[in-house]
């Protein structure tokens, strides 16, 4: 499969890394040679230096006519859109354009774009906002991923002393019929795909697979019942992500946005629902300002400024002031690791989110839904089991799947079912697979 990526900024670089890991033919185009060199140093791909203003020659060099996927993720959305139209007309099978405008994500508009030759529209701030909102709705969870509209849910939870299921081998904790399935454990910097003898410890970051009905049960078991539901949200930094968050804020929540630029405050007021959201013209990094706006009765704080370090520090401050749910937006991939181990709550990386969203387009067809979990360097994907495929031939424990692969659960007829060793997968099931450091396409073979 041939993938052409235009733009070697954070999103492009991260995409290149994801795709090259699963051994695809990747060509990345950018006008900045130093960026290309940096990527080429750790990814196996072809780089072409060319300005976006003279695309035809570089497109021919890259062989855009045989490309399966053309991705344009430069900063300029108009350029992205026009390059996608061009690439499509030159023969690229699928095109993806990154935009910076919420209007373009409207269904009618994306259909119009499809007719013009742009298969998908990606709006990074929207993806980040969706992630944040999912977190606000389930305040005690750090990460959440829904399969089939929530029939199955994967929850990333930081375990503390209050958790009931610590320090016991999993084979004792998780009897057959247990309402959850431990998919992976992140301890320090290492990731464990657990077997029956492994134990969960305090401070572990654990990925659970569970069904919709057992989410409250999970909350009890992991000792998170004292976490208050989010009613008031403070957002530090009034950027585009903040706008997307407050414009999709779940019912019953109110928000305050701290923004230092007065001009931006006026702009914000024009695009938000001011009956639920108040714009404060002050620096949200200042404790005095936070206290003045009653941070103590706030359940969630989102640090969404353009400065990763400031965001992390703001979240730490907020945790100390008693805010239970904090979300920090970071640009730097390295911070993702720190986040899992420390008390800054959820960490969101817009670029990584975007990259992992585009990533799943490559794996179309049998892969329904895929998500790259940066923190544990793993993918979680939803496969459809075909008739006569290997996965349906035997029970799970007889399949001899690679060690780094874990089957989390399956959705059969709209109902989520957890998988244990004796489960027999049937044709038509949607199976959730967790795999670390493995090529997704190898797993795909089991399902075809």
């Amino acid at each position: 499969m041939k993938v052409i990526i235009v733009g070697a900024d954070a999103i492009g670089a991260h995409l290149a890394e994801l795709f090259s890991k699963i051994k695809q033919n990747i060509i990345i185009i950018d006008e900045d040679e130093s960026k290309l060199e940096r990527i080429a140093a750790y990814c196996d791909l072809l780089t072409i230096k060319s300005s976006a203003n003279t695309p035809i020659k570089s497109f021919r060099d890259a062989g855009v006519n045989t490309a399966d996927l053309f991705i344009s993720v430069m900063r300029d959305e108009n350029l992205n859109l026009s390059l996608c139209v061009l690439a499509r007309s030159m023969g690229a099978k699928q095109t993806v354009a990154r935009v910076e405008n919420a209007e373009f994500t409207d269904v009618h508009i994306t259909n119009a774009f499809k007719r013009a030759g742009i298969s998908s529209i990606i709006y990074p701030d929207d993806l980040a906002a969706q992630e944040i909102i999912a977190g606000l709705e389930l305040s005690w969870v750090r990460q959440r991923w829904n399969v089939h509209g929530g029939a199955l849910t994967m929850l990333g939870i930081k375990l503390r002393e209050e958790c009931e299921i610590l320090n016991r081998p999993l084979k004792n904790v998780c009897q057959p019929g247990c309402p959850y399935h431990v998919v992976a454990i992140k301890r320090g910097n290492s990731t464990i795909i657990p077997t029956g003898n492994d134990m969960m410890l305090s401070q572990d970051y654990v990925y659970f697979m569970t069904t919709r009905d057992y989410v409250p049960e999970m909350r009890r078991v992991t000792g998170k019942e004292h976490y208050p539901d989010v009613k008031n949200v403070i957002i530090v930094g009034g950027g585009k992500t903040a706008v997307r968050v407050v414009n999709n804020l779940p019912r019953g929540m109110k928000a305050k946005i701290f923004e230092t630029s007065t001009a931006r405050c006026e702009e914000l007021n024009a695009v938000i629902d001011t009956s639920r959201v108040m714009v404060i013209n002050a620096d949200g990094r200042s404790v005095a300002n936070l206290l003045e706006e009653n941070v103590r009765s706030t359940q969630a704080l989102l640090a969404l400024t353009g400065n990763s370090e400031a965001n992390i520090l703001t979240c730490m401050t907020a945790q100390e002031l008693g805010v239970s749910k904090t979300v920090a937006m970071v640009e730097n991939m390295d911070y993702m690791n720190i986040a899992g181990n420390s008390d800054i709550g959820t960490v969101i990386n817009k670029q990584a989110l975007t990259a992992s969203y585009i990533y799943q387009m490559l794996l179309n067809g049998d892969v329904r839904n895929i998500r790259n979990l940066l923190m544990v360097n793993a993918d979680i994907a939803e496969f459809n089991a075909h008739k006569g495929s290997r996965i349906t031939s035997k029970r799970v424990y007889e399949l001899n799947l690679p060690k780094s692969v874990e089957l989390g659960g399956l959705v059969r007829g709209g109902v989520g079912i957890l998988i244990n060793g004796s489960t027999q997968i049937q044709p038509g099931d949607n199976v959730v697979v967790f795999c670390q450091d493995t090529n997704i396409s190898q797993i795909e073979k089991y399902f075809i």
Binding site: E266, V279, I280, N289
Partner: protein, 485 residues
């Protein structure tokens, strides 16, 4: 410098139009063969003559209308229309004294509807029609009418439109102002025709139906009977009047969008429309309660009378079907509040305008919130558009001038010996272009003929200011307006 030549030319053209309207009344008068034929004929002649002279004076004018010219033009046009329009009343001897005749005509043109005529029924048909017609012309604005009819005659028609339009927000419907003007006049015509037809169906005579329809859709309030719509004592007619007054109090631009482009949902979601409707419902409920409690009305009558009075006052029409003077005095306060707020911006109604009311209330709420959140930036948003701070200041200034003007008129009337309650409601009634007054001396159903002459002149000016939203007139009296810079 002011372009007097151009103003004379435009004024001349407009007077031709006035003469045309008068000619219609003359024709009616000829049909009825009544005593007003001669006065009307003379008026038509005089107006035509004045128009011709002005037109000749303005020959060869440079076709550049400045901002100042526009303000001056609009003010002069309204005064000239009132002056010429008062000739038939004077000549026919239907009204005694220039002050009274001018007051009556100005009251008509500004759609106020306050009258100094004690016995309306005794007047001939031609003059009665002229009286109603002044309101109908004044409803959407004299100049605005001309823009629709004679599109190319004014270079700076946008400025004129801005000087004459009602309300703080001007929404253009079409890219070209002429097209907007035509669309709005289309709405106006349809409303008037529909109203007249319904009145006719519910048993009014043809002449009365047309007159009432014109004064109701103009939210004017002149009636061809002393007892106004109370004369008919007919629920169907009352409810028809209520509906058409209510509709005429809605922005015509919104009506156009709602009925010709099927955007009714947008109308229902409009903040101004909601405020307007809420105010009507709330006031009606309270008044119904007092009518049931103290005046022993039946429920049906209470609702009909309360709703009629509230809608009549809030749309600044000033028709009546009952004598509100007999009601509990608290209802007067509520009706005064309705008078103050008035209808929606861009309608034929007067008053402070509901759009301004919504904004002013939001400014007030923001100021209170600011005590709790000193660093918050709180916008004033109306229908998703933000009113910037200069717009807010303009509005507060308007409110201040409005109140000061009312107080000035109040002061003068007290000085002239008018009853206190009457003074207050008359001032408000004129500034808001409503018509009736509430009080002990002059009831809402009575004429204002007892007022001193001086007061009538001042009230004429107040009505004009109220109709042209104060600043257009006020600016002419500032030294800066006449300086050459």
């Amino acid at each position: 410098m002011i372009n007097f030549k151009l103003i004379a030319k435009i004024l001349g053209t407009l007077l031709f139009l006035e003469a045309m309207f008068m000619a219609v009344c003359l024709i009616v008068s000829l049909c009825y063969q009544e005593g007003d034929m001669v006065p009307l004929a003379v008026t038509v002649g005089a107006t035509l003559l004045a128009a011709l002279v002005l037109w000749l004076l303005g020959r060869g004018a440079t076709n550049a209308l400045g901002r100042r010219d526009a303000y001056l033009l609009v003010t002069i046009v309204w005064i000239a229309f009132a002056a010429f329009g008062s000739i038939p009343f004077l000549m026919g001897g239907y009204i005694k004294g220039i002050a009274d005749a001018f007051f009556e005509t100005m009251s008509g043109l500004t759609t106020t509807g306050a009258t100094v005529i004690d016995h309306v029924e005794g007047m001939p048909h031609g003059v009665l029609l002229w009286r109603s017609l002044t309101q109908w012309i004044g409803g959407l604005g004299i100049v605005f009418f001309t823009i629709a009819v004679l599109p190319s005659f004014v270079g700076g028609s946008i400025k004129v439109f801005a000087a004459e339009a009602t309300g703080p927000v001007q929404s253009k419907l079409q890219p070209r102002l002429t097209m907007s003007a035509k669309a709005l006049w289309g709405v106006y015509l349809v409303l008037t025709a529909a109203c007249a037809l319904l009145f006719f169906l519910f048993g009014m005579g043809g002449f009365d139906a047309v007159n009432y329809a014109m004064t109701i859709t103009a939210t004017g309030g002149f009636a061809t009977h002393d007892a106004s719509t109370g004369y008919f004592n007919n629920a169907a007619i009352d409810y028809t009047a209520i509906i058409f007054m209510f509709v005429s109090g809605i922005s015509f631009a919104m009506l156009y969008a709602a009925f010709f482009k099927m955007r009714i949902k947008r109308l229902l979601k409009n903040a101004e429309f909601r405020f307007y409707s809420a105010l009507i419902v709330l006031s009606t409920v309270v008044i119904v309660y007092f009518l049931l409690q103290y005046n022993h009305y039946s429920v049906g009558d209470a609702i009909r009378c309360a709703l009629f009075q509230v809608v009549s006052f809030i749309t600044t029409t000033g028709m009546f079907n009952e004598d509100a003077a007999q009601w509990h005095h608290i209802t007067w306060v509520i009706l005064s509040l309705c008078m103050f707020f008035g209808g929606c911006a861009g309608s034929t109604a007067g008053g402070f305008k509901c759009a301004r009311g919504v904004i002013a209330l939001k400014i007030m709420r923001n100021e209170i919130l600011h005590r709790i959140h000193p660093k918050a930036i709180l916008p004033v948003k109306v229908n998703d558009s933000t009113i910037n701070s200069s717009g807010q200041i303009t509005l507060i200034a308007f409110l201040l001038v409005f109140i000061l003007l009312c107080f000035f008129a109040y002061f003068v009337m007290i000085l002239a010996g008018v009853d206190s309650t009457n003074s207050f409601t008359i001032a408000l009634s004129c500034a808001s272009n409503v018509g009736p007054t509430l009080g002990l001396e002059i009831g809402p159903t009575m004429s204002w003929s007892v007022l001193p002459m001086m007061v009538k002149w001042i009230l004429s000016a107040l009505m004009l200011m109220g109709r042209l939203e104060i600043f257009t007139v006020l600016v002419i009296f500032t030294p800066a307006f006449w300086k050459n810079n």
